[in-house]
Symmetry: C2
Subunit: 411 residues, 2 copies
């Protein structure tokens, strides 16, 4: 039994016409000899609508009840699509998270998958050619419905493919695949044929929101090849896979950017052991995600500490820092909401030098001042003034010739 | 642990204001020392809306998928109401049919309850004061969602009360209780304090649609006292219970009517063994419910056979009878859609004579011609011309003095 997993998002299940297109993808796979496990999201906007409804009913809606409410969105998608398939003579049935079961922990609203029983799936495939599984939802060991967090249907699909030992998981979306950068910013942005899990993780966390980041982690962990492609064409998309030697030849795969950045600086804090903990522990306790951190060299026993947070957390972060200053001493807190992060990403960096200096030189040529720098093995990120974000993306994209197909990938 | 079951229908869960009224009923019961099991329907119109949706997706929607789709209506009701309760500091949680489980057979769309596990309910009551259970839904032994048919939430409530050995099941509705006849037709119609299961069954099947008929059968089978009362007042409603000696003193409890009647007569069919089967088997095979049947005395080896069917089935019934006539021989088929059935109901009839003649005399005084008569132990039904239906109801209601409280029930 060859099983293909195909996942379709909210825009693909919005109406009957779209779902007939989805049916076309499914029947094409059946014609190629596959049994197909289809994972569906709720239709676009449905989850937000249900959340708003819950908000009208309770000031602080109980999270377990919210999950049970939200799960009805996918339940509608999978039952309706199964009817459509069966009406067309295809042997199909719907399966909800608890019917398989997809067992999760009890972190309602953001549950993690613990196990998936493939026995029920294989049994259901004995009688059906297509199983239509509700994405985004699972069930605790105690039998309560959970949801996997935003974009969780991607994770459902990858986890189901892993459980079935399926050779491939297709994620259908409204874009053609993963691009070297945002095509809306850069006309020479090019669709990538392949990208590694690690690169995809860096891209996803930077706002290239094609795949939910947890689904990529899952795919990496279980080695599930993920094919990101468009519902609306038959063109091949982007394969997200293990890194291979061919990939390493490509120095840089993409340029990402993130405007959801704000910068906070504590000037003149005492340069002493424990100061970092004093600053970042209260931020963590308030649930504020800190991204980049820089500590300047000490001058006269004091130092400046700079970090970035999501913009909506800026006011809270400033408040927390004001009280930190009172307890540890220090000159003042300065901040800016008008900053953005641009990043150059590529597994090839691991074995090559000069990527960073090339990036800095390119930005310098356009008079773009770099406010902060952070680097990882496969990524260089620069914080810049927000107004230069688009220019910086195009500049870096050109500097690394990302618009041109690499020689060794050209056909 | 004293448990009270309270069921609220679609009009009671239509919006937040209504459900705050429901919360009032629940908290009043908590204040009286009960733990409360609340059974909710989908909000009014929701089930029809989902059925219409299914109809747009498939010409003949798969019944199992339809049930899974329909069950989302009650799922929304119970999760939202649980949020509302918890937000008000009440320990409550929702429970879906499969979470208990309420096990049914696999007659999708009209499933019958096979068993209810009360262990899960009692366990959930350890941690909660209120359990909010989705009505109308169950699950097969194989784990597929089923629904119990129209009005099935009444049956859910009674079955849950039976499973818990609960002393009482309150069915909240938008009327004050069960009336001696339709108050819209008869200004002297009076709310009954008590009615027996058998009388209620006869009332319900005649269109006094306060309770789903299967819920009454269930209540009778397990001896669950059902209190039918209004969501919108605090007045006591009508207790539906075992017949008792006090009830038998009341000759007649109510007058019901049913305009969904049509009459078919086969004239001059051969009066021979097997003729009834030849007529009624093809009707049954076509799913047409036959209500009253009369065969006139044989004249010269031929007889007339008259029966009633629901009006929407009249055209089909005539067609079937035309072909029956061809095979068995006979003069002709005549029919009428303009007929109605009025019934006088009461357990007291069992031990009293003269009810039938009193009813016939009352109709005769108003020049209402009786077209057919059928009787049971506790009911006398007369088929009449439809135009007299309202007059007949009022006439019979007056003849048996139903507007007056019986002496032995007067306070």
């Amino acid at each position: 039994m060859r099983i293909l997993v195909q996942k379709f998002g909210g825009t693909s299940v919005a109406d009957i016409d779209r779902l007939k297109m989805v049916r076309g993808k499914v029947t094409a796979a059946l014609d190629r000899g596959y049994k197909v496990l289809v994972v569906l999201s709720a239709k676009s906007g449905k989850t937000n609508k249900l959340l708003a409804l819950a908000g009208r009913w309770a000031e602080t809606p109980d999270l377990a009840e919210v999950d049970s409410l939200l799960s009805t969105g996918e339940q509608a998608s999978v039952t309706l699509f199964s009817m459509l398939l069966r009406d067309g003579g295809i042997k199909a049935r719907s399966l909800l998270g608890w019917q398989i079961p997809i067992v999760t922990d009890d972190t309602f609203g953001n549950a993690r998958i613990l196990s998936i029983d493939d026995a029920k799936l294989r049994e259901a495939f004995e009688e059906n050619d297509v199983l239509v599984v509700a994405g985004f939802q699972g069930v605790t060991r105690e039998g309560r419905i959970t949801t996997l967090g935003r974009g969780g249907s991607d994770t459902s699909a990858v986890a189901l493919a892993a459980a079935l030992g399926s050779c491939e998981c297709e994620i259908y979306t409204d874009v053609e695949g993963v691009f070297t950068t945002d095509p809306n910013l850069c006309s020479t942005a090019r669709k990538l044929d392949r990208i590694s899990y690690d690169e995809m993780l860096e891209m996803a966390s930077m706002g290239a929101k094609v795949l939910q980041i947890r689904s990529v982690e899952f795919a990496k962990k279980y080695g599930v090849p993920v094919h990101v492609r468009s519902t609306f064409t038959d063109n091949p998309g982007t394969m997200v896979t293990q890194e291979d030697s061919m990939m390493e030849a490509v120095l840089v795969s993409g340029v990402a950017y993130d405007k959801d950045q704000a910068r906070v600086t504590l000037e003149g804090v005492p340069d002493q052991p424990g100061i970092s903990a004093a600053i970042f522990q209260p931020l963590a306790a308030s649930g504020i995600m800190v991204d980049m951190i820089i500590q300047t060299a000490s001058r006269g026993g004091v130092t400046d500490m700079t970090f970035t947070v999501p913009r909506k957390a800026l006011a809270d972060a400033i408040g927390i820092m004001e009280s930190v200053l009172k307890s540890v001493g220090g000159a003042r807190v300065v901040s800016s909401g008008n900053v953005a992060k641009v990043s150059v990403i590529g597994v090839g960096m691991r074995n090559h030098t000069g990527v960073a200096s090339k990036a800095f030189a390119a930005l310098y040529r356009e008079n773009i001042n770099i406010l902060m720098i952070s680097t990882s093995e496969i990524k260089i990120s620069c914080l810049i003034e927000e107004k230069y974000a688009e220019l910086a993306v195009r500049t870096l994209h050109d500097a690394f010739k990302l618009g041109e197909k690499p020689l060794d990938q050209a056909s």
